[in-house]
């Protein structure tokens, strides 16, 4: 039988490719990646279990009732949104596969049909969000536009304790790699500034006593993030199931 898939026949040049530490750069006409799963790591499961919203994960026995009624999966046709599968990947610790769903996993609309129907009392909606959190705090999820906006928003707020919308807009557009329409925006901003409707730059508002409040908040946030990252790396010995 002739091979009709051109990519399997045409020679492909792979300039720099390393697999398992072996340099395999060169000409390939058929390149099949191994699909064998060799990774059983309980780190993900233990982290999710240790979270208040994730502790019911170990009840799951993979019957698929959640996915069967999931509105993202069925009604909205987002086939790759499969809560049963996410939970399974977390249960067996298949991080490489889980990473592919770092974006999709947040598409849950929290209709909670899964939680209502689960025969074993898994709080599927919460567990799925917890798995998503794991991907976030371990930095496995690629930063999305929403994440970048969050970052710009937080930085902006921390500066004076009050949001500076104009600066936020500028920062976010810069993070997205877009140019702000200069002249038009400048004219609008200037007229708003003069009429007292915009407070930005040196004219921005400021929360009273922010100089004292800011370091406290910053420290709290840094410590919280550090704690979450640490638990994601693995629970301390003896705290496991």
């Amino acid at each position: 039988m002739p091979i009709v898939e051109p990519s399997l026949v045409e020679v492909q040049r792979t300039e720099q490719l390393e697999l398992d530490g072996i340099d395999v750069s060169g000409d390939w006409n058929t390149f099949l990646r191994s699909r064998v799963h060799t990774d059983l790591d309980l780190k993900v499961l233990e982290w999710v279990r240790s979270q208040p919203q994730g502790e019911t994960i170990s009840r799951c026995w993979q019957c698929g009732t959640c996915t069967a009624g999931c509105c993202m999966h069925t009604d909205f046709g987002l086939e790759e949104f499969n809560p049963r599968y996410f939970i399974y990947l977390a249960q067996i610790g298949y991080e490489a596969e889980l990473r592919k769903y770092a974006e999709t996993i947040w598409r849950c609309v929290s209709c909670n049909k899964c939680v209502e129907r689960c025969p074993k009392g898994v709080k599927v909606e919460e567990v799925v969000h917890s798995i998503g959190s794991y991907l976030e705090v371990t930095g496995m999820a690629k930063e999305s536009p929403a994440d970048r906006f969050d970052r710009a928003y937080t930085e902006n707020l921390l500066r004076r304790g009050v949001l500076d919308e104009a600066a936020l807009f500028q920062t976010y557009e810069r993070l997205e790699g877009r140019k702000t329409p200069g002249r038009e925006l400048f004219r609008l901003g200037l007229s708003m500034l003069l009429s007292g409707r915009l407070h930005t730059g040196p004219f921005a508002h400021r929360t009273r006593g922010w100089g004292k409040m800011r370091p406290v908040l910053t420290r709290l946030m840094t410590e919280d993030l550090r704690r979450r990252r640490e638990t994601a790396r693995g629970p301390p010995p003896g705290s496991g199931p």
Binding site: V36, L40, L42, R59, Y94, G240, P241
Partner: protein, 345 residues
């Protein structure tokens, strides 16, 4: 009244003998091995599912009613080698240490039980070749003595896999039936190990989990309290990994639709139940019908599972199919009552 012959000293036979004695009849308990207690005793079963009560305690209760009981004559290391009808009872020949001996009995209860499947027959799992591939009956003894160590280097295993349905539900070895015990015993072992050694990881490779009836509770607990992990797929082969230091379990993770190859320090095979040697021999000797599986078929298995169809001949325990200890004990009592009724007639 002549004594009632009970063949087999496992839970069913012990229960039958104890029950006969309590009815005021004489029991002649014949056991081919040199001890009473059957498979649970032979393999040093640890805790019994689902109540996690020590096997010794359960057996001890039964043994206490039999050993030293003046109405029960125990003959160890003895087999039944011939039988002739002598209505209303039988005339049997016993072969023991002292040579053949003829006895008149008023009725016979066959409680000849099962044998664990010989896992070597499932050669792709490497049992008998790789020391760290264990049969779960051997792990029972290890857990019992609290010595869960790799036979190859004597070190405690970090990661253990259980492979269910070894020699069960498998036409390749000619055993299409379900052993009924493999799931619950494997899960119980995983729970015992996780209780004592929380640092050891437990994975169970399954096709279906059949912790039927009230045993479901143990299955749920194993996941929720003890963190036992379940992977849906049958292991295809076990080979050596990491220069022979570990075992590589290869199969399909059917929930991933993906091949899986994971190294383990120890692999435990849940070997099924086959008709015991004694069961086969007694079926021949008494000309009893056996099913395609080799277990003795009761005459009416649904409403009278202890009647063989031959007057005066009764069945109890795993001789008629895979059975749990409580079921075997109950059948032992039923068979004792039927034998007593027959003998009194």
């Amino acid at each position: 009244m002549n004594p009632v012959l009970v063949v087999g000293g496992g839970p069913a036979g012990l229960s039958a003998a104890a029950e006969l004695a309590s009815l005021g009849a004489e029991a002649l308990l014949v056991e081919k091995e040199g001890y009473l207690g059957g498979n649970p005793k032979r393999w040093h079963y640890s805790l019994l599912a689902p109540d996690l009560k020590p096997a010794e305690e359960v057996l001890g209760d039964l043994l206490g009613k039999v050993e030293g009981n003046p109405r029960v004559e125990v003959r160890l290391g003895t087999s039944v080698t011939a039988v002739d009808p002598a209505p209303p009872g039988f005339r049997v020949t016993l072969q023991g240490g002292k040579g053949p001996e003829g006895r008149e009995v008023s009725a016979v209860i066959l409680a000849t039980g099962f044998d664990h499947f010989d896992s070597r027959r499932k050669f792709e799992y490497g049992y008998g070749r790789y020391p760290d591939v264990l049969d779960f009956k051997e792990l029972e003894g290890m857990i019992h003595d609290d010595k869960v160590l790799r036979p190859s280097d004597g070190k405690p295993p970090k990661r253990i896999a259980w492979v269910l349905c070894v020699g069960s539900r498998d036409l390749q070895v000619g055993n299409p039936w379900c052993c009924r015990m493999g799931c619950v015993v494997s899960i119980k072992q995983a729970v015992e190990i996780r209780q004592k050694h929380p640092e050891m990881e437990a994975f169970v490779y399954y096709m279906d989990i059949r912790t039927y009836g009230l045993w479901e509770d143990l299955y749920w607990k194993s996941m929720q309290q003890y963190g036992v992990k379940f992977i849906r797929g049958r292991i295809g082969q076990i080979t050596l990994a990491e220069g022979g230091k570990r075992l590589l379990a290869t199969g399909e993770d059917t929930l991933l639709s993906r091949p899986t190859e994971v190294p383990f320090d120890m692999v435990v095979l849940a070997s099924g139940m086959e008709p015991g040697q004694g069961t086969k021999r007694m079926a021949e000797l008494f000309h009893l019908p056996v099913g395609p599986e080799g277990f003795i078929t009761p005459k009416i298995s649904d409403i009278n599972p202890v009647d063989s169809g031959v007057p005066g001949l009764y069945l109890a325990g795993a001789a008629t199919g895979p059975k749990a200890i409580p079921d075997s004990v109950t059948e032992g009592m039923g068979a004792a009552l039927r034998a007593y009724q027959h003998a009194r007639r």
